[in-house]
């Protein structure tokens, strides 16, 4: 749907016409100040579309401008699917409605019905239209404040939207009927299972019942088994009793006992006799033992005397032997002592020889060192003397390196002066013929040679005569004077050092250099021979001489001639020490032997004395015993005791033989067995009888209630309760399956049903709430909440701003969806975004712009500056007041 033109006249505030025309696609902002009649315009549009022309009463009265009685009129031009429509309605006075369509013009009620059909709303049957009647247009009519209450789809709008959704995805929801079935199934399931799937209600009771029934059956089965066992037991008891009676077991046992007891009595007599014989043997044996004891003791005394005497002899022999050994042992000790002394002396001599040998060896070494020291000292003295002579000669040479260099400089000055003179001198060359000579100032010249003439010179030429030449240059005199000065300086220098010429000075200098080198070499040699100085050498020499003298005195005092070298002497000393040690060991052994012998001898003396004492005592004891009874008397007593014992033993053997023949053990065993059998059988019979009585009474008691009947009943009950439990379990599982299947199906259905709408909501939502997902009630299509970060926040708990923005975004999505589906949808916002902060406001504008790609969006605002940057045409309400109403003709 596209509003093209909206015109009103005589409508409430607007007595004069207001016309908003040339409305285009996309967004149009209609701006008006407060009280300028923005909301009146909105009411007029609503009235023009939804209210019946013949609306009366209070609702109609409110259309009248205050204090006037006029005819309110509304004209709306719009397009649906590219076709132009126009509706004009006049109210109260001469009420009328006129709809022009591409298919013709409709008047009155027909116009209204046609319009309602076209724009999918419902005409109010009576009175003013209700929001519910306004269909989807109402949905997209966003008035200030109303948006917070949710979408408020109304039945018509909801039905349109649902119809559209069902067209797209089919009837996936089950409606009330489906929910009723699900609830009924859930109730059934919940009657049997808890939310965690545990049994409850009938199922729980059936479980308990089955458990109890099983337990009862088991209990009775055990009782029954016991009953059967008791019967078996009773059968056995009766059989055993019958057996005892039948086999005459008791009677036989009594007979056997009687017989065994009779036999036992005769054996008793034999046993008494046997015991008497045993006692007689014991008595005679004791008497014999007594006699034998006396005899043994006498023999012991005799043997004691003999033994002591033998011992005395032994002790005496031992003493004699030890006494004999004393002499040789003392000799051996003495010889060892002498040997020891000899060895000690030899060792001491060897020690002295080592000292002397070492002293002599040292003296030899000292002699060599002393000689060397002498040589060095002599050498040093010689070098020092030479050095002194050289130093003296150096002192006599006046020239030194510096003096010489100075002379060289003077000589160089002369050469320079000569050269300067030469440069201005007159050069003369003589070339005489035939070997004739030339003399200058009397001195012959070498012919052919150029002669420089710097002063007046007289030449004599053979064969010619004489010539005097006097050079006439003025510089000559100066240069001659300079030469003279230089020559004088050299002469002076030479004279100062006593040299005739510079060559002699050079020779003298070379001599001096050579002497310096000799002096230095002498110093280096002296240092090498005595690094610590000559005095130190002299000190060492003194010390060594003193040591030698001391050693010489010592060795001479020991008066030993012909000692070998120290090593040899040391080896002799070691051998002497070993020999001494050996002698010491031998001496120790000899001393030990001697000491031991002394002890042994002492012991032997004591033993000898004790043995003699023992012989005396033993003899006294024997005599005392013999005084009491003689040896013969004792022998007679012993013999008679032996005879008595032999007799008693014979009697005992006889009684033993008789007793054994009677076999008392067997008789006793038989008697015991008979007694035991009798007691056992009697006890068994008594026990069996008691058992029989006990079993009988137990069985009577057990049988009274009819275990078999109870058991069968219990088993039946167990079977039945188990079956019932199983059936209920199956039912519970089936109900559970049914409920879970239906719940899943319902959830899937809801998701599928809302999917087309939610798909459109998401892009809008992303503009403001990037991570959020809106949830809708699939029945009412109202917003139920938002899922953010996996958590659902119910719509009523959201902030006012969020609710407002969410509500608008979802409407925009719905509008886009319905527009896409061919429904006439247009969005009108009346100062709706009052709770948005700047950021949200801007984002909401983006959302509106997005929606405007599909549907027309009209924005009524009192704050046009908020929309200035939005880029949509802004129409001012005031501008509309200059235009004509132009009712439909």
């Amino acid at each position: 749907m596209l509003f093209r033109r909206i015109a009103i006249r005589n409508f409430r505030k607007h007595l004069s016409p207001v016309v908003i025309d040339e409305l285009g696609e996309g967004v149009t902002v209609i701006a008006g100040d407060n009280e300028e009649g923005k909301s009146t315009l909105l009411d007029a549009i609503r009235t023009g579309l939804f209210e019946r022309q013949n609306l009366g009463g209070k609702a109609a009265d409110t259309m009248q401008p205050f204090g006037s009685t006029v005819r309110p009129e509304v004209r709306i031009d719009f397009e649906v699917d590219g076709s132009l429509y126009s509706i004009t309605k006049g109210f109260i006075q001469k009420a009328s409605a006129r709809l022009t369509t591409p298919a013709g013009t409709f008047e009155g009620a027909a116009a209204e019905e046609r319009l309602a059909e076209l724009l999918t709303f419902r005409l109010s049957q009576r009175g003013e239209s209700k929001p519910d009647d306004r269909g989807i247009l109402g949905l997209f009519w966003l008035e200030q404040g109303r948006v917070l209450d949710g979408l408020g789809l109304g039945e018509t709008g909801r039905s349109t939207l649902r119809g559209s959704l069902e067209d797209e995805v089919g009837n996936v929801l089950g409606g009330t009927r489906g929910r009723k079935l699900l609830e009924a199934a859930r109730a059934q399931r919940d009657a049997l299972l808890t939310s965690t799937g545990r049994p409850r209600g009938d199922l729980s009771a059936a479980n308990d019942e089955a458990e109890k029934a099983t337990a009862r059956a088991l209990e009775l089965e055990a009782e029954r088994a016991e009953y059967d066992q008791e019967i078996d037991h009773l059968t056995q008891v009766r059989r055993d009793l019958a057996q005892i009676s039948h086999d005459r077991v008791l009677e036989k046992a009594e007979e056997a006992l009687s017989k065994a007891e009779s036999e036992a009595r005769s054996i008793e007599l034999l046993i008494q006799r046997h015991e008497a014989a045993e006692q007689a043997v014991a008595l005679t044996k004791a008497q014999l033992d007594n006699a034998a004891d006396h005899s043994d003791r006498r023999q012991a005394l005799i043997q004691a005397v003999e033994g002591r005497e033998r011992d005395l002899i032994d002790k005496r022999d031992a003493h004699t032997r030890l006494s004999d050994e004393a002499g040789p042992i003392a000799d051996r000790q003495q010889a060892a002592e002498i040997e020891m002394m000899a060895k000690t002396e030899a060792r001491e001599t060897a020690e002295t020889r080592v000292v002397v040998a070492q002293g002599r060896s040292r003296i030899e070494s000292l002699d060599k060192q002393i000689a060397e020291l002498h040589r060095k000292i002599s050498e040093i003295e010689k070098l020092a003397s030479q050095r002194k002579a050289d130093q003296d000669r150096i002192a006599q040479i006046a020239i030194d390196q510096r003096g010489y260099e100075k002379l060289q400089t003077l000589e160089s000055d002369i050469r320079a002066a000569k050269a300067a003179l030469g440069a201005v001198a007159t050069r003369v060359r003589f070339a005489p013929i035939g070997g004739q000579r030339v003399k200058r100032n009397g001195v012959e010249l070498t012919t052919g040679e150029t002669v420089q003439v710097t002063d007046r010179s007289h030449f004599e030429l053979d064969g010619f005569g004489e010539i005097d030449i006097e050079p006439g240059t003025s510089e000559l005199a100066d240069r001659r004077a300079r030469l003279k000065k230089a020559e004088d300086a050299l002469d002076k220098g030479l004279t100062a050092v006593g040299m005739a010429d510079i060559a002699a000075a050079k020779i003298q200098l070379e001599q001096r250099t050579s002497l310096d080198a000799q002096v230095k070499e002498a110093k280096r040699l002296i240092d090498a021979l005595a690094p610590e100085g000559a005095e130190a050498l002299a000190t060492v020499l003194g010390e060594q001489k003193a040591e030698r003298s001391r050693l010489s005195d010592t060795t001479s005092a020991l008066m030993l001639a012909d000692t070998a070298d120290p090593e040899t002497e040391s080896r002799v000393l070691t051998a002497a020490k070993d020999a001494e040690k050996e002698a010491r060991t031998a001496l120790d052994l000899a001393q030990k032997e001697h000491q031991e012998h002394v002890i042994q001898l002492t012991v032997a003396v004591t033993a000898l004395e004790a043995a003699a004492e023992a012989v005396t005592t033993a003899k006294a004891d024997l005599q005392k015993a013999r005084d009491y009874a003689s040896d013969t008397e004792l022998t007679t007593k012993l013999e008679s005791a032996k005879d008595a014992l032999t007799k008693a033993q014979n009697t005992h053997a006889e009684s033993t033989k008789r007793l054994n023949a009677a076999n008392p053990e067997e008789v006793e065993l038989r008697r015991e067995r008979a007694q035991s059998t009798l007691a056992t059988v009697d006890a068994e019979r008594r026990q069996l009888r008691e058992e029989q009585i006990g079993l009988q009474s137990r069985l009577t008691a057990l049988g009274k209630n009819g275990i078999s009947e109870l058991l069968e009943e219990a088993r039946g009950r167990e079977t039945r309760t188990l079956a019932r439990r199983d059936r209920l379990q199956r039912d519970a599982a089936a109900w559970n399956r049914l409920v879970s299947t239906l719940v899943d199906a319902e959830r899937d259905a809801k998701e599928a049903f809302l999917e087309p709408v939610l798909k459109r909501v998401d892009p809008f939502l992303r503009l403001l709430f990037p991570d959020a997902r809106v949830t809708l009630n699939e029945e009412t299509l109202e917003i139920t909440g938002v899922v953010r970060g996996g958590r659902e926040e119910p719509y009523p708990l959201l902030s006012i701003g969020t609710r407002e923005q969410l509500s608008i975004l979802v409407r925009l999505a719905f509008a886009v969806y319905l527009r896409e589906k061919g429904f006439p949808a247009a969005v009108i916002l009346d100062d709706a975004l009052v709770y948005a902060d700047d950021d949200r406001f801007e984002r909401m504008q983006l959302a509106l712009r997005k929606a405007a790609e599909t549907v027309q969006v009209l924005i009524l605002t009192c704050r046009p500056r908020d929309w200035r940057e939005f880029g949509a045409p802004i129409r001012r309400l005031g501008d509309g007041k200059t235009k004509k109403f132009e009712p439909l003709q």
Binding site: N171, G174, G175, T700, S708, A734, D748
Partner: protein, 385 residues
């Protein structure tokens, strides 16, 4: 040979023939635990009522004796009350009762017999717990073969062959066990009875117990069967035999008399989709007799949910008419059809859910899914769908 005391000769019974009722396997005290307790009580009492009925019949028919060929009691451990009620049930007939211990109630050291004796039995009631001949007046001699344990590998009737009786006496054997090579194999495991025992022991009649159906073995050997059926086995239970023997060596006359209180019936039914009408009609029982019927229906076939619901209705109806109805529907497969599902819902999530459950019918836990669908179907009807 010591004899048990015999009952006194009855008045007005002058001839030499002997007439008696032959019954067995009363199994008084049988619990029927597998059935609901109210039914089991009824069936337990029914067995005593039938015994009373037999006693009355014996009195009315003026027979010489009633021979019970074993298993008077279901178990040796029946209660005292049961024993007393048993004793009372015998009272209508003052003639001779000969009661033989069988495999259910063998004469063990402690048994219903020893206990009955302690309760003091009337003189006309003879417990044949020893293999000793019992004189029936001066006309017949009864040779009993009591069981002293539940299972005996020996043929306890062997002694009949050598039992001496006067020539003028009719010889009647009384035993409990399986006739060799005659009964189904499973029944022959223990307590054997030779097939030709009647001939070898020169018996005029051999009264047998253990097999619960009425069954003739030879001219002279019969199983009476239980007088009151106790299981779903169609082998002619519910009779007693009225036996008349005119003289020693004469062929006995056997008259089966129906005495059962309840009838047990087991049927297998193929259920077709849409076809449940004959659930009760197929029983072919007059409506008046339905109340004495214990029925077990084994259902098989593959049906849709609507048939299943209708079947439940019909079975509910039948259950109200019979004494007891047991249904085994393990062989019945309920396959929901498109129509079934359409009836519940054609669109929406419920339909989706149903389709998902239907997909599970081929899966590992198909039974739960199947049941869930059936429950949904029922729910749909209950909630006014």
């Amino acid at each position: 040979m010591p004899l048990y005391p015999t009952c006194s000769e009855k008045e007005g019974f002058e001839d030499l023939s002997v007439r008696f009722l032959h019954t067995a396997d009363l199994q008084i005290g049988k619990g029927f635990g597998q059935l609901p307790s109210e039914i089991s009580v009824v069936l337990r009492n029914a067995r005593l009522e039938t015994l009373k009925k037999i006693a009355v019949l014996a009195r009315e028919r003026r027979v010489d004796a009633v021979l019970v060929a074993g298993d008077c009691f279901d178990d040796i451990a029946v209660g005292d009350e049961t024993l007393r009620r048993f004793k009372v049930a015998l009272e209508p007939f003052g003639g001779t009762w000969v009661l033989l211990p069988g495999n259910h109630d063998p004469a063990t050291a402690e048994s219903p017999w020893s206990r009955l004796k302690r309760l003091t039995l009337p003189d006309n009631v003879i417990v044949a717990d020893e293999p000793i001949p019992i004189a029936l007046g001066d006309k017949a001699m009864i040779l009993p073969a009591p069981l002293k344990r539940r299972r005996d590998a020996a043929d306890l009737t062997e002694w009949f062959d050598t039992a001496e009786t006067d020539d003028h006496l009719i010889r009647i054997g009384l035993a409990h066990g399986s006739v060799r090579e005659f009964l189904p194999e499973a029944s022959e495991a223990a307590n054997p009875v030779a097939m030709d025992r009647d001939i070898r022991a020169r018996l005029d009649y051999l009264a047998l117990g253990d097999w619960h159906g009425k069954l003739q073995v030879t001219d002279r050997t019969w199983y009476a069967g239980t007088p009151e059926p106790d299981r779903f086995r169609a082998n002619e239970p519910g009779y007693i035999l009225n036996v008349a023997i005119e003289a020693p060596g004469a062929k006995p006359t056997i008259e089966p008399v129906a005495v059962a209180e309840y009838r047990w019936m087991e049927q297998t039914r193929d259920i077709m989709p849409g076809g449940t009408d004959d659930v009760s009609q197929g029983l072919d029982i007059p409506a008046a007799e339905l109340s004495r019927l214990i029925v077990r229906l084994e259902l098989q076939g593959t049906i849709d949910l609507s048939t299943h619901a209708a079947l439940d209705e019909d079975l509910g109806d039948l259950r109200a008419r019979v004494q007891y109805l047991e249904v085994d529907d393990a062989g019945l497969v309920v396959e929901p059809t498109e129509d079934d599902l359409d009836m519940i819902d054609t669109t929406g999530f419920v339909r989706t859910g149903m389709e998902r459950l239907r997909e599970q019918l081929n899966g590992p836990d198909a039974e739960t899914a199947r049941r869930a669908l059936a429950l949904l179907y029922g729910l749909h009807h209950q909630t006014g769908g």
